[in-house]
């Protein structure tokens, strides 16, 4: 499994780590990180599957424009992971219900 990314501790001090839940599993996050960064650090890169062709997508533009990182966060669907700060206990889900119905 690819690890996806890793946290850098050089040059900054972080607060205490906490846990967030992603698709039922717990991962570590730090205050000040976005959910996208926390997921990347945990080796999770696929954040959603596309509606038509069901292809994997993840972080791309990082600044809230491309809409690729949309996930359900704390029950609110289509929330951008790159724009949402991780908070202790927050619930993150990959949407599985968006596949287009047959015409």
């Amino acid at each position: 499994m690819h690890t996806g990314g890793k946290r850098v501790f050089k040059g900054v001090e972080r607060g205490e780590p906490f846990e967030i839940e992603v698709d039922g599993e717990k991962i570590v996050a730090y205050e000040g990180e976005t959910i996208g960064a926390a997921l990347l650090a945990a080796g999770s890169r696929t954040l959603r599957y596309t509606n038509k062709l069901e292809r994997p997508r993840g972080l791309y533009c990082g600044i809230g424009l491309c809409q690729e990182c949309c996930m359900t966060i704390n029950g609110i669907p289509n929330t951008q992971a790159c724009q949402t700060l991780a908070t202790p206990g927050c619930q993150v889900e990959t949407r599985k219900d968006l596949k287009r119905r047959e015409s």
Binding site: N51, I76, P77, N78, D97, L98, K99, R100, R101, S103
Partner: protein, 387 residues
């Protein structure tokens, strides 16, 4: 470069003009369609996408609608490209007690005319559309044959097939004038050349009068702005064409009061919801205003609370070619030979367009239509533009 001549020149490339051109090409006529902008660039590309009969009034209105619904079905089978026509059913939601008398009166008149409608209770409505808010559903009128389509794809499909059948379609080409002599049409002057023809169909929608005035005929069509919102794609959420009865009440009241809004929603095949709709008299202004966007959001979130977290990704507005009696203008025009009207469809262009196309084709080829439409000619309006 435009063709030198044609048997028929259709002016206007929206759903009405495209339907006329398609059926004429199918009947073997040498047709040229001239559209000043791009494909489905005006009202045909910015509407509620309904193909619907519930709110049609008794008389010629419902007959036109039923006929056109049949033509939609026919096109679904005939056209090679899919235009996402789905007869998922239509619901006219009774949202408040005050709407009940209007709805009941409508049902009565429709039954008397031989086009009855079914009334269902709130429980049944919520079974059909479970995301609707209980508080805003007292019952509904239900029609299984109503539904939605993708109007842009419909226009593209009509265009593409018409071309295969020999029609020539000129987009980004503007009609500058119509040549007439001795009370008869002789040709159409465009910004890219002149087309010799004895027969012109004015399917220019909100510009219907701009075109007819080229032969000194005034058409009482005025632009009526309506706005809708497009949401991001959702899983299957709404399966019917849903309209709120406030629409019917407002329509009755003449839609004269500044900014108004009635519930309209449907889900496109791609998953986006088209929600609306607001209306206002804004001349030829296609821009949406902040108030109407917020108003549409308010009305729809009240009707379907789960929409709170659904995101708007764009809005659109366009003006519909409205007539005083809310009926289209179809047929020949007194005093000028070879000039046929096919415009003024108001907010019902998508629904009635294909039917109008077929009727105009019949009129041109056979001299008569499959059911009488003489009540719909321009002559029904007096000088003041009132019917």
């Amino acid at each position: 470069m435009v063709p030198h001549e044609a048997e028929v020149v259709v002016i206007g490339g929206g759903v009405v003009g495209s339907s006329v051109a398609y059926f004429l090409a199918q009947a073997g006529k040498n047709v040229v369609l001239v559209e000043k902008g791009w494909k489905a660039g005006e009202a045909s590309g910015a509407n509620a996408a309904f193909v619907w009969s519930i709110t049609r009034k008794p008389g010629i209105d419902i007959r036109l609608a039923m006929h056109s619904l049949g033509i939609h079905k026919q096109l679904e089978a005939e056209l090679e490209t899919d235009f996402e026509y789905v007869r998922g059913g239509g619901l006219l939601i009774i949202e408040e007690e005050t709407q009940v008398p209007f709805v009941e009166a409508h049902l009565k008149k429709r039954a008397e005319d031989g086009y009855p409608l079914e009334l269902i209770d709130a429980k049944q409505v919520l079974e059909l559309e479970p995301h609707l808010s209980e508080e805003r559903v007292l019952g509904a009128v239900y029609s299984p044959i109503d539904g939605k389509t993708n109007p842009i794809f419909l226009v593209l499909a009509l265009n593409s097939q018409a071309r295969k059948l020999g029609a020539r379609l000129l987009h980004h080409t503007e009609v500058l004038g119509i040549q007439a002599a001795g009370g008869a049409v002789k040709g159409v002057v465009t910004d890219k050349g002149t087309i010799k023809t004895n027969l012109v169909v004015d399917a220019a929608g909100s510009w219907g009068s701009f075109i007819s005035e080229m032969v000194d005929v005034k058409t009482p069509v005025f632009p009526f702005q309506m706005a809708m919102l497009v949401t991001e794609q959702l899983p299957p959420t709404v399966s019917h064409a849903v309209m709120g009865a406030s629409y019917m009440v407002e329509e009755d009241a003449g839609k004269n009061e500044g900014l108004g809004c009635g519930l309209i929603m449907s889900q496109q095949t791609a998953g986006n919801l088209l929600i609306g709709a607001s209306w206002r008299k804004a001349g030829y202004d296609k821009k949406t205003i902040q108030e109407e966007i917020e108003l549409i959001a308010r009305v729809n979130v009240r009707a379907m609370p789960m929409l709170k977290t659904v995101r708007l990704i764009r809005s659109y507005a366009n003006f519909f070619p409205q007539t005083e009696d809310d009926l289209p203008i179809l047929g020949k025009v007194d005093g000028i030979e070879g000039f046929i009207m096919a415009c003024g469809h108001g907010g019902h262009g998508v629904c009635l367009g294909p039917g109008s196309g077929k009727l105009i084709q019949e009129l041109i080829c056979d001299g008569k239509t499959s059911f009488p439409i003489d009540k719909l000619t321009l002559s029904r309006f007096n000088r003041a533009g009132n019917p």
